[in-house]
């Protein structure tokens, strides 16, 4: 018997994001990342074909430095502008030489007579763009409803404090997003013997997320979306680490990392794929080499093909999995790298997971509440109400996201309420713990494996 939640109709409502869909129209009301600036380093850079929210577009950089994001097909005879010439104040179609600027104005129609005013009657679909910290953002909604450009930390920090990454995932955006508010998978999916042994000697609190098999969670609605609190604690300890995470509409998440944040935007390309913009933000200091070391991650975990944005671990059909590592107890999933582990499981669900076949359990509390929140928010959208995060006084820089270390029996809603509680990570917090634990939890491994 599958879960009583989430009918087929609700599943469609949550997952379909193309033109004319409710969720798609809702998402278009917000500014969101479109591509990384490094795809268009100069005015004569190759145009970049890209599909966002089911719409086929092309991005280019004009000679004045602006990024244009326009309908991929020339307004003349619909030849693809992915083949177009660049290096001018617009993009020039190779079919008949029509020149289109970043605002969608047709500047030249060479085959037409000199006295023709026809070009002035043509408006090519074009979306406004803004660049910030290595990311090109866009707004694809009705011009009259365009909100101010958001003052996220991600859009206001200097580039030296931001590491922008991009992954393309051939699956629906929502199953990836739900991974960000799934509290209980880390001790299984992300477990490795090396990390367990590392954590045995670690004072840094955040490592607890990988070794608490049943974290407690709480959920709250915020003016801009939802918040979750996740409590992680090791069995023998009297203090726990609490993550206060933010999920801002329509598809942004912020998780605390060290003394900064992991900021994500899961932008649908079409119903069976999305772009995962993943930004590490370091407000206090420029990102440096110790960043990877302290997090216990490897730079190669972030490698992607520079044009397709697939991880090199993606084989075309799945992620590389080493079952010898599983059998030996070295890795529970057999997949290398935390990001790859997350992407492997969400993509393995298929292009669009069939939620009517799920059997949701207690651990899925945050997933259930967030889906309900989306359905309620889409109702508000249909009624024309002010949308979360689009209020006039919305301050994206003040979105509450932090980790807290305090007594293990602290009520989760108290942690949420006390916005002054914040764990101050200090570089060097990864030093040896004063009292290393004798044992550490391991997921079921079978006989003769695991950390002794």
């Amino acid at each position: 018997m599958a879960s009583s939640f989430f009918t087929e109709e609700e599943d469609r409502l949550l997952t379909q994001t193309g033109p004319g869909t409710t969720m798609g129209d809702f998402m278009r009301r917000y500014w969101f990342p479109a591509l990384l600036s490094n795809r268009l380093p100069a005015a004569n850079s190759d145009p970049v074909p890209i599909t966002l929210l089911g719409e086929e577009l092309v991005a280019f950089r004009s000679a004045d430095g602006r990024v244009g994001l326009v309908d991929r097909y020339c307004p003349h005879r619909r030849a693809s502008l992915a083949l177009a010439r660049t290096g001018e104040c617009g993009i020039r179609c190779i079919y008949h030489g029509w020149l289109i600027d970043p605002d969608g104005r047709v500047l030249e129609t060479p085959p037409e007579p000199a006295n023709s005013r026809f070009a002035q009657t043509v408006q090519h679909r074009a979306y406004p763009t803004r660049e910030a910290a290595g990311v090109v953002w866009t707004y694809m909604g009705p011009p009259e409803a365009r909100p101010p450009f958001p003052n996220w930390l991600a859009t206001t920090l200097p580039e030296s404090h931001v590491l922008p990454l991009l992954y393309y995932q051939p699956c629906n955006w929502l199953q990836s997003f739900e991974g960000d508010f799934d509290a209980g998978h880390a001790p299984y999916l992300h477990w490795s013997k090396q990390d367990a042994e590392f954590a045995l000697n670690l004072k840094w609190q955040d490592q607890k997320i990988f070794f608490d098999p049943r974290p407690l969670t709480a959920f709250a609605v915020a003016p801009w979306g939802v918040q979750s609190v996740m409590r992680f604690v090791l069995e023998y300890q009297t203090e726990a680490v609490y993550w206060v995470n933010a999920y801002v509409m329509p598809f942004f998440s912020m998780l605390p990392v060290l003394d900064g944040y992991l900021f994500r935007a899961l932008v649908p390309s079409n119903d069976e794929s999305h772009y995962a913009f993943t930004l590490f933000l370091s407000p206090a200091r420029p990102l440096a080499d110790d960043f990877y070391l302290t997090l216990g991650i490897r730079p190669e975990d972030f490698e992607v093909d520079p044009t397709t944005y697939y991880s090199p671990e993606w084989t075309g059909e799945g992620y590389r999995q080493d079952r010898e590592l599983m059998r030996s107890g070295e890795s529970w999933s057999g997949i290398a790298g935390g990001m790859n582990q997350d992407m492997a499981v969400t993509q393995s669900m298929g292009g669009v997971v069939d939620r009517t076949k799920e059997n949701l359990a207690g651990e899925d509390f945050l997933v259930i509440q967030t889906r309900k929140y989306y359905l309620e928010t889409l109702d508000k959208f249909r009624r024309g109400e002010v949308l979360p995060g689009l209020q006039e006084d919305m301050d994206h820089s003040a979105v509450d996201c932090r980790s807290v270390v305090t007594a293990v029996d602290t009520p989760l809603h108290e942690v949420l309420r006390r916005t002054d509680w914040r764990y101050r990570y200090v570089p060097g917090d990864s030093d040896v713990a004063e009292k290393p634990p004798a044992t550490i939890w391991t997921p079921p491994l079978g006989s003769g494996q695991g950390v002794p």
Binding site: A361, G362, F365
Partner: protein, 65 residues
């Protein structure tokens, strides 16, 4: 007065209610949740409401008598 109602036809034995409010819910050997005390005291309402919201099957409701 508030009354706790468990729809056992929807119950699938997750046990979240017992975790949230052990004075009011009990998961028995038949795999179903049972109400131990039907009317929560005012001080226990938060815990009972937590049990309601955490049930993955929405099998628990509160009724005003």
């Amino acid at each position: 007065m508030i009354e706790i109602v468990v729809d056992q036809a929807m119950c699938r034995g997750h046990g979240q209610c017992e975790l949230s409010a052990p004075d009011y819910f009990e998961l028995r050997d038949d795999g179903l949740a049972y109400v131990i005390m039907q009317n929560p005291g005012e001080g226990d309402l938060t815990a009972v409401e937590d049990a309601v919201i955490r049930c993955p099957e929405e099998a628990i409701s509160l009724r005003r008598q």
